[in-house]
Amino acid sequence: MARREEAAAREARFAALVERHSRFVYRVAYAVVRNPHDSEDVVQEAFLKLYRTGAWEGMRDEKAFLARTAWRIAVDRLPKARNQSLDQPLSPDLQSDDSQSPEDAVVTADWSAAVHRLIDALPEELRQPLALAAVEELNSREIAQVMGIAEGTVRTRIMRARQILKHKLVGLEDRYEQR
């Protein structure tokens, strides 16, 4: 009887954890995979993994732990071609996989789409800290924990990503004004 009550209490605690953090985990997943369907799969897989291993009961920092679990699963889902490293040179126009280039988007005056395409075209090592920083609940220290890198490296990469994006946006704007 006591064991059954204990199991029920455990279930309730886990349900509360899902209730508290599933949206946050979803946003972390989305920052990596950028696809609602895959993001939901990542959320489900992350919670399922935690439940199976029982690791959720010993979590000190729930947010950091969940973000790291989700981030790892999401990175594993990325196509290998996307998961390029910083050692590889950036393409001249930072074009993404979509058919419309940033220039095309600018011509149609869709600046927001152009910026998104430029962000998507960044190497994953720059794009992920930038996108995770945009998830409001995560600061540099937490992003460093999630990605398993130094906090200083996170700041450097975010700064570098922003510089590249600004540089490319200015270039696009100049070309747009010349037309």
Partner: protein, 164 residues
Amino acid sequence: MSKDERDKVERLLDDALASYSRQEPRPGLERRVLDRIHTGASPGIAFPRWAWAIPAAACLLWAGILWTRHVATPHRPQVRQVAVTREIAPPRAETPRIVNHVHKRKALPKQPQFPASAPLTNEERALLAFVTHAPKEAQEALIDAQQHSAEPIRIEKIEIQPLK
């Protein structure tokens, strides 16, 4: 780049990045997560990290048993015979020698009498019983019959009458 341009670029960037934090899942995500957990897993099926040691130990144990059996088995004489045959036989240049590993049938023990005595037939057994238990007269008659049979057979001259 002018200050206005810089501000515009910053604003564009911040707006685009803010979309990451505005992402919302389809309604009912929590319910779907819990449903999947309850249908697809139970906490009892998680294996501990040392679980791999059990099959590994079983494999080692099995290998040990096999090795012990192999060592305990004595060498069979047939194997030695095959080896000798190989050494004596002249090597063939073209066709590789195929060693016949079929076990030879064990030779039967050498019999004191050849051909080996067959078991008695019913008639022989009846005769033996008669000789053993028969009265004296019968034995004499038998001996007499044997003596007669030892004598050369005499064939009376046959007279053939000419045909009339």
